[in-house]
């Protein structure tokens, strides 16, 4: 492999397009970044009983998250020890055993190899004990959100999340029963571009006025006549978010690459009865003062670097799966606040459709722009600039930095973190 000097590619306010287009850098990202960090695996509520499983992709590896008999979760690598086939083809389900479809090697839900046809043919030294499905070394969860790390050693999950554990608090605290559940399905979309384009966009208040100009123009004047949130409300909110407003909304960035941007002037028009019932339920659990604190948290998108984003107030998360240097898949999950009136779940579904359906009036422009950015950067390599707001960042009181909403602070924070991972060689996997 050609020698890569990362410090040459990422400087204070500039990044070279090669970090988005070079397959060698993507390979480094897999082993130096994604294989080291905590990556989102699944939510507790997706695995209710022993044997429940869902598929996931971690640093390019196909993984099965499986609920064990003792209630713990294991992440098994979905590759047969025999001839390399995928052992399980289902997206999710419940299984006592996983039998490889190719030659019938069979694994228990904890990954142990328990059955091999034609076993006599393998001779006396053949040891099933050595042929378990490989499992991901570390799993931890925080308030129902389960993360995995391919690194056997490293900081624990809460240390890793740091200040951005608050993104999880922000969604769970809003549930009157103190729990959320994955409910309402998911959206899947992909683009022909590098994953970093998506992570930058999620913290970018300078783009909506241009990238989403047609959506903003299509919004009817904001009004409260309707009782439920619809896409028009969201676009009207975008439209209302002018530069002065965005400056006020702010961006905050933390060690580890995490950050959030302040909320858009977006209200969830709720029927008064539902809103009152919701507040009563929250007050019953938390008391009036704590309820006000919970509802006062105003964030549009919070990101847990490198590949997870929360829209906690709207009960959705976005999981980014980098597939190739120029191809990225995105999974958007909707959650339900347990104990909240049904209207709140309907509003979450409406919002996730509006913002993240493959036919969204907003997302579709972002996807088109990522594709074209990737094409242009591949054809015309050169420097990109992330200098907006540079010098206006100030320390906040939680160990991070904050700046005006249009600042490119969050992107600079992502690249500083990226560089610190990529400059450290990974120990060679056995």
């Amino acid at each position: 492999m050609e020698r890569l000097d990362i410090s040459e590619l990422v400087r204070g306010d500039r990044v070279h397009s090669r970090v988005y287009t070079d397959p060698a850098i993507f390979a480094w990202e897999q082993e130096r970044l994604f294989a080291r960090v905590w990556l989102y695996l699944c939510h507790d509520s997706q695995l209710r009983a022993a044997g429940d499983f869902v598929r996931a992709t971690l640093a390019g590896l196909p993984v099965l998250a499986v609920r064990q008999q003792d209630g713990s979760i294991k992440a098994l690598i979905n590759r047969c020890a025999h001839r390399g086939a995928e052992v399980c083809q289902h997206e999710s389900g419940r299984a006592l055993r996983f039998r490889c479809p190719y030659h019938g090697w069979t694994y228990a839900a904890d990954g142990r190899l328990v059955g091999v046809p034609l076993r006599a043919g393998y001779g006396p030294g053949f040891d099933l004990g050595e042929l378990s499905l490989k499992s991901v070394p570390r799993l931890e969860s925080y308030r129902g959100f389960v993360f995995a790390s391919l690194a056997a050693e490293g900081p624990g999950l809460l240390d890793y999340l740091g200040e951005m554990a608050s993104a999880i608090d922000d969604i769970v605290d809003r549930a009157p029963d103190g729990e959320v559940e994955a409910a309402g399905g998911l959206h899947r979309h992909a683009f022909h571009g590098n994953w970093k384009l998506q992570m930058e966009n999620l913290q970018d208040y300078a783009h909506p006025a241009f990238a989403h100009e047609s959506s903003n123009a299509a919004a009817r004047p904001y009004e409260r006549a309707r009782t439920e949130l619809d896409e028009d409300d969201i676009m009207a909110a975008n439209k209302g978010a002018d530069m002065a407003w965005m400056e006020k909304a702010g961006v905050a960035a933390y060690p580890g690459g995490h950050s959030y941007i302040g909320a858009l002037p977006l209200e969830q028009p709720m029927p008064a009865e539902a809103e009152a019932a919701y507040r009563r339920a929250l007050v019953a659990r938390h008391g009036a003062a704590r309820t006000e604190e919970i509802l006062a948290v105003q964030r549009h998108v919070a990101i847990v670097y490198p590949t997870l984003a929360f829209q906690s107030a709207l009960q959705q998360i976005k999981v980014i799966v980098p597939v190739r240097v120029d191809y990225t898949e995105v999974y958007v999950y909707c959650f339900r606040l347990k104990g909240a009136p049904a209207e709140y779940h309907r509003a979450a579904v409406t919002f996730v459709n509006a913002a993240n359906s493959p036919a969204s009036l907003i997302l579709t422009d972002d996807l088109a722009i990522y594709d074209r950015a990737q094409r242009a950067m591949t054809q015309a390599p050169g420097w990109l600039r992330f200098g907006c707001g540079l010098g206006r960042d100030v320390p906040d009181n939680r160990g991070g930095m904050q700046g005006p909403g249009y600042s490119e602070l969050a992107m600079r924070n992502q690249f500083a973190t990226w560089r610190s991972y990529l400059e450290r060689p990974a120990p060679r996997a056995a």
Binding site: R188, S214, S357, T364
Partner: protein
Amino acid sequence: MSAAADLATTVAAFIYREARLLDERRFEEWRDLFAADGVYWVPARAEQTDPLHEVSIFYDDPVMMAARIRRLRHPRMHAEIPRSRAVRSVTNIEVLPAAGEGLVEARSVLVMTEFRSGRQTAWHGRVAWRLVPAAAGDFRIRLKRVDLVNAEGMHHGMTVPF
């Protein structure tokens, strides 16, 4: 001709016209085919029954549909530069036994070939129609539901209705 054959002919003519209005990007005229409470629905999952508590690819009530069409007319809708061009082929039209007073239910199969942003894409789906008879030989759409064969697939963005 029998009344049933008559109905089948008028329903087919209506569905062909609906497809042609979309092919010709006459979105406002297309919207006018819908009843005042009409809905255009593309579920995100086969056999989805609930559009309110589960996500959908499209779930356009008249307000949403109007916003979508206003956006399609905007000169800087980046996902549509150049404009999407599509041809819809409608087959397998069946009118179902009477669904209820003043309501006609029908099914069809749709193939839409689209050229957008330099890529050609073929979309395939089954369409379920709930139609309200209007003037002679005409209908208003109460519900058009399009079940894409790849509803759960990985999508690259959709800009026009199927």
